[in-house]
């Protein structure tokens, strides 16, 4: 009752048929192309020409022209008419007799034999198995026999093909292929007239009501079942569609896909085959006949003829959509898939999906809406344009016409309900997010991204930054004011950066850090700027803001330079490379930053330049000195500063030693450093004196020996150790004798010898050590030294033996190689030229074969190294 699927259009009215004769009524109709035949109860056949017109309003109307009226000469009514257009014959059933008349003249066919008598009803096979185009197959129900006959009708004769007996008297028949669908007196059945196989369908009562047997397609029939059902059955006796629910008194039925049209006493009912629901009811009084002819549904009351015209699918669907009946509209469209050319269907279907999506969107059914938008491949801008101000002003988009929906914009849709607006916005966010990741945004990426950016900004959505950090097509001109409006300065900076306007980005951020603008997106924005500058390739920009950054915090600010990736070559033609000299000069006024930067250069980057090393060492020294001058309590600081200084002094050898020594020497608290510096000058005596006598730090002295010789050979190390031992045992040293230090030194010397005995030359040591030392005191050293020399002696003896044997072996091989004497006689031929030898001069080839000297010389020329090299080269490539 919901769809307007059909319209009832009058075709032939009472005037044209019977004038004012009251007792005449229509018995049967036949329509073939434009020809309409009407049989009446007074044995007349009326022939009309039916022309279709489209009125100015777009509706159909019919004009009728009466061509002929023919009286068949009986008193009986014309019961049925069927046109056989290929034969130009009209098959007429009248007075239980089947006869043929000419389609045009309505004259009886001359040969009188073409008649079948005793016929109760007949039907034409629209899907005959025999493909002869000039004959028509008909199924005939005999009035007297329990049988069905199949005839072939030719232009001038009728031929019985088959007669099949039935268990009961048949009363209605329909034919498709070999299958007869029959209504018997108490049941329906399917009969295969070729094989005789019968299939009962279901029982019904023919007394109670008129059976309907209607072929609706290939091997499928529509039957009137008890309880007012329209049942579908196929040739195998199965039902493949659910039944439709008619009234009890259906007179006729037809299928006009996707609808089942049925006629009862007062109404035409229209059910959908897709969902079995009643879709439309048309009032129709005195209905009498309902038949479909090649897709055209024609109805007749007793007095007039009408055509049931299906409305265009688009209009039906639009009606449904207007009533917000989305599911039905889509079902109807889907159902028409087979009946519409594919490309046209696609266009239609997409549009309907889009409209359906907007209807559901309007009802806030976002899941369904999204599904339909997606399937309908909606231009996403249609959706964006609903939201005020989201589309960039530069967008060329205009809404599609006719409109897909009736909403002016979101406010119109939500009727001022902010909650609804918010839900719609959240939906658009998720939808656009999805569209971005698919092909759907092709061609309008700018619009989509800009709209998404605006939504994120407005909704304070966390994905705003992700959007800007990843590849996007947001329009700067349109987005900037919007981001400013929502105080998303950090995001705006990112957008500037993405569009290559780093200066604007940094300027904006600096203003936020300085508190001129409010944006709490990042609390560590300052660190972010520093990080950003450290990667920034625009050096002008870096210099411009470096000062600001350093003033704010030197330690962090210097990261602009220290975190900067260093390229392999430091040449100046790489624009993004900062020259370290420039930086060092620039950082002059920020000592803390300068120190950090030099540390970065020297310790991390390992840059080998005297200037940086010296400067760093001086800075360290200054720190240590200033820490020393400060009041006590900062011991920890001093220790850290000294450690750094000592480390640098030890590890680096690039700084200017004299300069530093001059600086450090006045301060007698920095003896260790002094020793190191002396060491760097190779003044090991001085260094060791300081360590041993002034500092009395024996482990440090030993360490000194180790690092001092680290880059040198073992001999140098031995030299240092001997020096140290000498210092320990030097009785005349200026610092010695102060207190009980002497014994201490001797203990240190013994300890040194006993622990590192292997490093000393034992003979020299024995010369050095005082006479008075006991053997027991030096026992570990002596044992080790003895063992060492012993080992060395034996090792050398072994190697000597091995070398001798090797030499012997080689001599043996040489003699073996030399072989026996070379025999030469004038009977012996040269191996190369095969002539005999004439004199004693000869050359032996490897293997001892004698050849002429000139032959050997030739061969050498031939196989010259140059040639061979050529050959080899070609072999290797």
């Amino acid at each position: 009752m919901s769809v307007k699927a059909f319209e009832l259009v009058p075709a032939v009215d009472r005037e044209q048929l019977m004038g004012d004769k009251a007792r005449i009524s229509i018995e049967c109709i036949e329509c073939c192309g434009k020809h309409l035949y009407v049989g009446t109860n007074d044995c007349f056949i009326h022939h009309f020409l039916l022309e279709e017109h489209t009125t100015t309003k777009g509706t159909l109307s019919y004009s009728v022209q009466k061509l002929l009226v023919m009286y068949l000469g009986q008193k009986k009514p014309v019961e049925a008419l069927k046109a056989a257009s290929a034969l130009e014959r009209l098959i007429v059933l009248c007075d239980a007799t089947l006869s043929m008349v000419d389609m045009v003249t309505l004259e009886a066919v001359p040969s009188g034999g073409a008649k079948v008598k005793g016929v109760a009803a007949f039907c034409v096979n629209e899907n005959p198995v025999i493909g002869d185009p000039f004959c028509v197959e008909i199924g005939v129900i005999s009035a007297r026999k329990r049988a069905v006959q199949v005839y072939m009708v030719y232009e001038d004769r009728v031929q019985l093909v088959k007669e099949v007996n039935t268990p009961q008297q048949p009363c209605a028949v329909s034919l498709d292929g070999y299958f007869l669908c029959l209504a018997l007196s108490s049941q329906y059945m399917i009969l295969n007239y070729s094989t005789g196989a019968a299939q009962d369908l279901f029982p019904y009562d023919s007394e109670e009501r008129k059976p309907i047997v209607k072929r609706i397609g290939r091997e499928e029939f529509l039957l009137a079942a008890p309880g007012g059902l329209g049942m579908f059955a196929n040739a195998e006796g199965m039902s493949q569609r659910a039944p439709v629910n008619w009234s009890e008194s259906v007179i006729g039925a037809a299928v006009c896909f996707p609808y089942v049209v049925a006629l009862d006493e007062g109404f035409i009912t229209i059910h959908s085959m897709l969902d079995q629901q009643l879709k439309q009811t048309l009032s129709f009084r005195d209905g009498h006949i309902l038949q479909d002819f090649e897709g055209k549904v024609v109805l007749a009351s007793t007095k007039a003829v009408y055509v049931l015209v299906p409305l265009p699918l688009e209009r039906q669907v639009q009606d449904l959509l207007a009533g917000h009946r989305v599911e039905e509209a889509l079902t109807l469209t889907e159902g028409a898939r087979r009946n519409i050319p594919k490309d046209r269907f696609q266009v239609l279907y997409k549009r309907i999906l889009q409209q359906a999506g907007f209807i559901q969107f309007g009802q806030l059914q976002f899941l369904e809406a999204e599904e339909h938008f997606r399937k309908g491949q909606l231009d996403v801008r249609e959706l964006i344009s609903l939201y005020p101000l989201l589309l960039p002003s530069s967008s060329s988009f205009t809404r599609c016409h006719p409109p897909l929906h009736q909403f002016a914009d979101l406010n119109h849709l939500a009727q001022g309900d902010q909650e609804k607006v918010q839900r719609c916005k959240r939906f658009l966010i998720s939808y656009l997010g999805e569209v971005r990741s698919t092909e759907g945004a092709n061609g309008c990426r700018e619009d989509v991204d800009t709209a998404l950016l605006k939504l994120y900004a407005e909704q304070d959505h966390e994905s705003l930054l992700d959007l800007l950090a990843s590849p996007n097509a947001c329009l700067l001109a349109d987005s900037a004011p919007w981001l400013e409006k929502h105080h998303k300065y950090f995001a705006l900076g990112l957008l500037y950066h993405y569009n290559g306007q780093d200066a604007a980005a940094v300027q904006l951020w600096v203003r936020v850090v300085n508190g001129e603008l409010q944006d709490s997106t990042r609390t560590d924005l300052y660190e972010y700027i520093v990080d950003f500058l450290s990667f920034c390739s625009n050096l002008d920009l870096v210099w411009k803001y470096a000062d600001w950054a350093l003033q704010r915090d030197q330690t962090i600010g210097v990261q602009i330079f220290t975190k900067r990736p260093v390229g392999k070559n430091q040449s100046k033609d790489q624009p993004c490379q900062v020259n370290p000299d420039d930086v060092v000069t620039y950082l002059g006024k920020h000592s803390q930053a300068l120190l950090l930067y030099l540390e970065h250069l020297v310790l991390e980057k390992q840059i080998q330049r005297e200037q940086f090393h010296t400067q760093l060492a001086l800075l360290y020294t200054d720190r240590v000195l200033s820490a020393l001058n400060q009041s006590p309590g900062l011991e920890a600081q001093l220790v850290v500063a000294r450690d750094k200084l000592q480390f640098l002094l030890r590890e680096s050898s690039l700084y200017r030693v004299h300069l530093l020594l001059g600086k450090i020497q006045p301060c007698d608290q920095l003896l260790l450093e002094q020793a190191t510096l002396h060491g760097k000058l190779e003044e090991h005596d001085k260094a060791l004196h300081i360590l041993v006598y002034q500092l009395k730090n024996f482990p440090a002295a030993e360490d000194y020996c180790v690092w001092g010789s680290a880059s040198q050979g073992p001999a140098y190390r031995q030299h240092l150790y001997h020096l140290l031992l000498g210092v320990y045992l030097d009785l005349d040293a200026p610092g010695r004798g102060a207190g009980a230090g002497g014994g201490e030194l001797e203990v240190a010397a013994v300890d040194l010898l006993n622990r590192h005995g292997e490093l000393f030359d034992a003979v020299r040591v024995l010369d050095l050590i005082p006479e008075g030392w006991s053997l027991e005191l030096l026992r570990p050293f002596l044992v080790r030294a003895l063992r060492g020399t012993m080992h060395a002696r034996r090792t050398s003896q072994v190697s000597l033996g091995l070398a001798r044997s090797e030499n012997l072996q080689l001599q043996h091989d040489r003699l073996k190689q030399r072989g026996g004497p070379v025999l030469l006689s004038d009977k012996k031929g040269c191996h190369l030229c095969h002539n005999t030898f004439t004199g004693p001069d000869c050359v032996c080839l490897p293997g001892g074969r004698p050849v002429h000297t000139h032959c050997a010389a030739e061969r050498v020329v031939r196989d010259s190294p140059a040639k061979r090299r050529l050959a080899n080269a070609s072999n290797h490539t």
Partner: protein, 262 residues
């Protein structure tokens, strides 16, 4: 119902039979739409297409009313499984299955599977009232689960009185059909079909007690049957077309599932 389902061709057919008001439509409805709602008495029949793996299974819901009885055998023609439904609170509904509906299945496939299903179990079984799905809980658990909620039936002119005493089950309002009765009917169905019980699926697998109202056992019923009819689909496919094309999917199906009767 997904729109596209109307376009697909079913591979196999399952038919739900049973007396009026036992809850056939509600069962199907519960399975397909996951909810229980008031239905009107079914006119003629209705069907639903279920996608089960690569196959389309059509489920026919028939009308229980005497008026439409004649259509039953047509619905059953070519069926691979028949669900014979009764109402656990009505002895009569079980008796009707044997008297009226069993003969309708003569047109079903020779290897058709039969399931005997007692609906409205929520009225008698406490565990059937505990529902897995939320929507079931929101409704009043006390009221009956029938399509047309009628008064509890009185065992009218019942030829054989219920074997199980009603008093046995403490909770039940008026359980009239026990599981044993259903199993006995299943045995009689097999005898009627001329099948050896030992060749067929056992009664305890093929007798279900369900509640369309609470969803109790409904999925289990349908999905068990779907799995059981799969071999029938495969056989139909291989017989159906003598096409020389090798169906690669053939090798997957058999052996996976329990064999069908005979």
């Amino acid at each position: 119902m997904p729109e596209l389902s109307k376009m697909r061709k079913p591979d196999v057919k399952i038919v739900i039979l049973g007396d009026m008001n036992v809850g056939k439509t509600s069962l199907l409805h519960r399975y397909t739409e996951r909810k229980f709602k008031d239905t009107v008495s079914t006119v003629g029949g209705a069907f639903f297409l279920k996608q089960w793996g690569p196959y389309n299974i059509s489920i026919w819901d028939t009308a229980g009313r005497e008026q439409f009885h004649g259509l039953g055998s047509m619905y059953c023609r070519g069926a691979a499984a028949v669900i014979l439904t009764y109402d656990v609170t009505s002895w009569q509904s079980l008796a009707e299955l044997e008297e009226r509906f069993l003969s309708l299945t003569d047109t079903a496939n020779h290897d058709c599977i039969y399931a005997v299903v007692g609906n409205k179990a929520d009225l008698t079984e406490p565990q059937a009232r505990l529902v897995t799905e939320r929507d079931g809980l929101t409704e009043d658990p006390g009221v009956g689960g029938g399509e047309l909620t009628g008064e509890p039936r009185v065992p009218s002119a019942c030829p054989t009185p219920p074997a199980s005493p009603v008093s046995l089950s403490r909770v039940s309002v008026n359980k009239q059909v026990s599981r044993e009765d259903a199993a006995a009917l299943y045995g009689r169905i097999l005898r009627y079909k001329g099948l050896e019980e030992s060749d067929c699926l056992p009664a305890d697998k093929m007798c279900f007690e369900t509640s369309a109202k609470t969803g109790y056992n409904v999925d289990a019923l349908f999905e068990t049957l779907f799995d059981m009819v799969l071999p029938s689909i495969l056989r139909k496919r291989t017989e159906g077309e003598g096409s020389p094309t090798v169906d690669l999917e053939d090798c997957r199906g058999p052996g996976k599932r329990a064999r069908a009767c005979c």
